[in-house]
Amino acid sequence: MLNEKHADAVELSALREYELPELVSALPSLDLSSFKYVSFHAPSTMNAAFEPTTVELLEAVVGRGWQVIVHPDVIVDWELWKKLGQYLCLENMDKRKAVGQTVDQLEPLFKALPEASFCFDLGHVRQVDPTLTEAFLILRHFKNRLRQIHISDVNSDSRHAELTIEAMLAFKRLAPAIPPTIPVIIESRVSESQIESEIQLVREILDDDNRGGRRTPNLTQAISA
């Protein structure tokens, strides 16, 4: 489906705990050769008893050199997750979560996991702080850890949604601060027929030459699997 959309990055998701073993075991059979960048989203909710098994399964993903996107609120045993090293990619959280929303909240997490990288979710950060103050602070503060971007709107129910004009205006302001080589994963919930237009909207946001003369990025986009 994505091959026809000229996407060269993809994120595989096992957002529910029970999806993880099945997806991990299916990895050898997936043809992902057309993608320059592949990442993997770990379960966003987890029974603490399942944590060691989860990390063990994710080690197989890390072995492929893929970033593993993790919501910090699922981590209970911090030592356990250190095994994933630089491939452990922490994501900033939406306003429903008690941790990981702001620079001040993210800082101790990265201190606990010094090798971890960072997935910056633009929809989450805009929901937490519509002025984008926190977004700019996070980008500058964790620039060296940044490995990928999540982009979408987040609606009033805190669900990822298709891009709106408000979200686009906000993200265009952020675009000059995002390095052009960083892969972008689109998390908008759209029908298959809308995928192409959603990708175009993201290009419009990140290719905006009118803001600070940003050069056309080597954009890698995908629809989250």
Binding site: K95, R96, V128, D129, P130, T131, L132, T133, A135, F136, L137, R140, S156, R173, L174, P176, A177, R211, G212
Partner: protein, 357 residues
Amino acid sequence: MSDSPLRLLIDRLDIQVPHILQCIEESAGVEREVEGLLSRTRSQWVSLDTSLVVFGSLARGEWTPHSDLDWTYLIDGQANSDHLTIAQEIKEVLEHKYVPPNPQGAFASLVFSHELIHKIGGQDDTNRNTTQRMLLLLESVAIGNRAQEAYERVVRGVINRYLEEDPRLLTKDRTRYKVPRFLLNDIVRFWRTMAVDFASKQRDRGGKGWGLRNFKLRMSRKLLFASGLLTCFGCTLDPDAHPPEDADIDERRAYLVRYLRNQFCYTPLEVLARAAILYRIPEDASVRLLSAYDGFLEMLRNEGIREGLDVLRAEDAAKDKHFEQVRRISRDFQSALDVYFFENKELSALTKRYGVF
């Protein structure tokens, strides 16, 4: 309080200001009490889209046993008719325990973030809206650790709105932020509005409450104005407000929003204390300022004096012994402020440039 600039200044000056310290302690206690009261009687009274915000003496850390409790139920989310019910329930709980705010005033009701952020200036910016917005910045606290999100978003939203109207944020040499003129003008306007409203209330209430309101105008209201000015001046003078290098205007604005937000976390007296340290205000002026303010709070804490001032009319003030004390305290306070704003080299230059025209 341990890392408060006020505590630091008090220690440096080695002075006794027992009433200031007692009010701070009691304010913290009342904040906890309000949270506990609501949690016991109205479970789940907070949400990610709403905050209970308190203003006035409680937010300034100047609570006395006779203070009224100024509050609003701040909403930053989907409109929902249940919000009114929740606000009414909060009102019922709080008014059972504390002195309610003036029913004609700006408090004890719902407030929506859109009004505060969008209606700055113009016909729709009512006296009530201006008051709520200014006090949100200058003296407010959200009650409860679980209910800070909506409050934080709105405070940042208001600050951001002020800065969006300033086309250039940096000085010509691009090394410092400029004084945010739109915000500063609104703070100046608010102070003048408070002073004008003092006269208006005097007329409306037939002189009742003149003595107490006069004292507050000379002290706590003026302190609020002074802290607002210092916060704006800090944008260009305070080393903590340095703009990031290699940033575009949006990122520079974000850093200034953060600076201002951090400053507005201080109580007004803390802002004055921090400025005393930062700008090396002579110690005798700082002593005078804090001693005068301690005297103000001491008088407010005394029920008899407070009641006497509340019934004092302007025509009787010259013969009133307590009002003579009011005059002395407020003269000391003003003379200390004069040192800040007219004698300090850095601050006086900005006072001349921005304070009048």
